[in-house]
Symmetry: C2
Subunit: 150 residues, 2 copies
DNA sequence: TATATTTTTATGTATATACATTAAATTCAA
DNA sequence: TTGAATTTAATGTATATACATAAAAATATA
């Protein structure tokens, strides 16, 4: 795969910033491709997997839909419908919040936890396989992405 | 925005590789948000804009749909329908390839070129505004993304 | 307290994506 | 040279995304 210019046969970028935008979009597609392939047998999308992880991070405390939305990777996505899908698969529990009836309490189910556990090592192996960077380079990349967003 | 852990209130990543995946998805959403906002008044999606740039890069030579597909940022997207949209807006020309009737020759139109030109400086300014990295950091990021894909 | 404003979730809708399938044209091979 | 295999583009379909709007409940204000 290698250099962006060769991968997409484009070389007339406005400047390195524009190239970075294209590079991010292209690398995103590369990563999501592997994620989809791994998660598809389990009938999960990458964002659904992420929401399950968000819920597990609550250590048993219920979370509202808006709180999930804030933490989602795709800000404009739709937490409500996503939770609905996960509930239909039995991976989360959803019930009216007793203190505020507008809100909805969402929790990961035992089945959801089991699925996450089953996926953990597969994902770890997969990530290391297709991310062709050393650990220090990955840390550097994380630092730059954090800084990029300011 | 800053550090990923704070931005999405998640800190239990499997390892730096997994964090990089999440960071890429999140940063992608950040970037695409700005791209959408900029392009929306012109009724273009980021990938449509990219295809126009691919076509301009051909310097007047027609390109086939499969060739566009290969160069697109989103490998699984649908070049055929995207070209159809751009044609409906008068931004590209499309006609049967004379030497191979399966193929379709696509070219950017004068109107398409004019639109790209109009967008150029806006995009350049916008990119520099929301990518909060120095030029050397951006180059470093591009290098790491290229290397990531191997 | 009654009404307006805000918050929270759900829904509507157009577009985009992922992926399978179809249809037509070309190339390959018996 | 005829039929099989391949290539190319288009279409079908389910899901996801972007964004507007609606509906219900809570809070603020007159």
């Amino acid at each position: 795969m290698g250099k962006l210019e060769e991968a997409i046969q484009q070389k007339d970028f406005i400047d390195p910033y524009h190239k970075a935008v294209v590079n991010l979009l292209f690398t995103h597609s590369y990563v999501v491709g592997y994620q989809n392939a791994l998660l598809k047998p389990y009938d999960l999308s990458p964002e659904q997997y992420n929401v399950l992880r968000i819920l597990r991070g609550q250590n048993g405390n219920p979370t509202t839909v808006s709180s999930i939305q804030e933490r989602m990777l795709n800000k404009m996505s739709n937490a409500s419908r996503l939770v609905e899908k996960l509930k239909a698969k039995g991976l989360v529990l959803r019930e009216e919040c007793p203190t505020d009836r507008r809100q909805v309490d969402v929790m990961i189910s035992a089945e959801g936890l089991k699925l996450l556990e089953k996926l953990e090592t597969r994902i770890q192996d997969s990530n290391k396989y297709y991310i062709k960077l050393s650990e220090s380079e990955v840390r550097n990349l994380n630092m730059l992405l954090d800084k990029l967003r300011g």
